[in-house]
């Protein structure tokens, strides 16, 4: 499997990262090297092997279902690049 510049353009959009047009081709080369290298996993027989879902097997404790935080919108919004009152402001979404 080899990634074309079109594939890289598509992945970059999925990741919402603007990649300059002239970077697409070199980036395709870099990503192909990495993808080609990780593809050696194909030679491992994983028939019937469960994918790992938990690194250390442990019981997840339950906590009381209570409200223990909140009403701090000023602190939540303190780092927002743009805001209006108690809201985040974003560019117009609906045309």
């Amino acid at each position: 499997m080899s990634l074309s510049t079109d594939d890289v353009r598509k992945i970059a959009f999925l990741a919402r990262i603007r990649v300059p047009e002239e970077r697409l081709e070199p980036l395709a080369g870099e990503l192909n090297n990495i993808v080609g290298w990780v593809e050696q996993l194909a030679e491992v027989d994983t028939t019937g092997v469960q994918p790992m879902t938990s690194v250390v097997e442990t019981v997840t404790p339950m906590r009381a279902d209570v409200v223990n935080d909140g009403a701090i919108s000023d602190r939540v919004l303190a780092n927002a690049p743009d805001g209006e009152g108690a809201f985040y402001a974003v560019p117009k979404v609906v045309e």
Binding site: L3, A15, R16, R18, E39, L41, P81
Partner: protein, 495 residues
Amino acid sequence: MSDLRDWTIASAADALVKGDVSSVELTDAFITAMEAGRTLNAFITETPEIARDRATKSDARRKAGEARGPMDGVPIGMKDLFCTEGTRTTAGSHILENFVPAYESTVSGNLRDAGAVMLGKTNLDEFAMGSANITSYFGSVKNPWTPKGANANLVPGGSSGGSVAAISGGLVIAATGTDTGGSIRQPASFTGLVGMKPTYGRCSRWGVVAFASSLDQPGPLTRTVEDAAIMLQAMAGHDPKDSTSLPMALPDFRAACTRDAKGLRVGIPKEYTLDGMPADIQKLWDQGAQWFRDMGAEIVEVSLPHTKYALPTYYIVAPAEASSNLARYDGVRYGLRVPGSSLDEMYELTRGEGFGTEVQRRVLIGTYVLSAGYYDAYYVKAQQVRTLIAEDFRKVFADVDVLLTPTAPSAAFAEGEKMDDPIAMYLNDVFTVPASLAGLPAISVPGGLDANGLPLGLQLIAGVCQEETLFRAASALEAAAGFTARPGPVAGTAL
């Protein structure tokens, strides 16, 4: 206080108890060193006011008979991946350049509550992605060590490069690190320090800027094994705010350091012998095994057959998790925003400008391996191989107590090396990644110097939650190695 690098957590705690030094005196001396040692670029943000305030309070507590234990009053560095309330937390990234958290991470809060004095936030690879501390938006970090007879600037390793440079250069007594695939252990090896990654879940990840959530684990960077035990005791513990944090009581880590290695079964995994590995590293590894034999331990050759697949597995799992975690940087709620004419364009421009090259590369790889049609072939396959890798370790630990390996396949290298080939850089973590994938506790202990006079570490790995065995073996190894070498003083710092 002639050479600040003489201080350990244990010796500082002793001196504070005896009243030989106050926390304010100690803290002032290290603040002076931190400011004089700026050539290392070890800190992104210095916090001398916070340090003096905490030191003053520590001295007052001690005077009132309310000292909180061995960390109380001890100056440390905090990796700039831990959110600190009211103090800028950047993760080494442009996208978080001006982020000031409204909350304190559990680990940094635990250390604060134990009385530790934070001197500043240490530099790191951007989002902890790197093995040389050359990807930080705030510039690369300089290793205080230099090769014999040469004038090259060496990298300190990564991603916790600022933390190790600060300790090694005598700017702090100890520092926090985080380890995803080797980011505590490899830099410790490059700077002649002790770096310990606990069992996944020992330390809370709450408030630690996320890279790969199933792998990320905070841990201590120190001069001695005993210090690592003391500091881990203060950092670790169950945290209801991290659902993967282990709901278990902590053993007494420091007590484990006093037991000898007699009767320990030490495994040597044969798959960790690499073609082209420097002779000095093989020699030190053999020497390490001999030290254990001399101390009455038993050396056993063992096999971890899936070792060679650990690195490619890691480079699917870690970027996949990173691409999900880093999706939060959208220019809306916090961090950098670059305006665009539409919401999508704003996202793209913000992330295109806010993330550096290596972070973008990993997010793109992660996006690709998680995308429709490829998820099973890459991500599920990698998690299956990960199960096999963990299974290898589980079988081996039925027979041995610890594993002994080199920490890294090379000593510290010069800035500029391995930069044009991402995979060559990834290979730095070949010995540290397997334990990360299996969630196992592991530690790097300085073993000796190579032919160029640069430090080399040996790694010990133990089974899940077997930190006591790990500290026991590490203390014995440390005593046998008797490593006392230091780099020359950092220009500008008084010794």
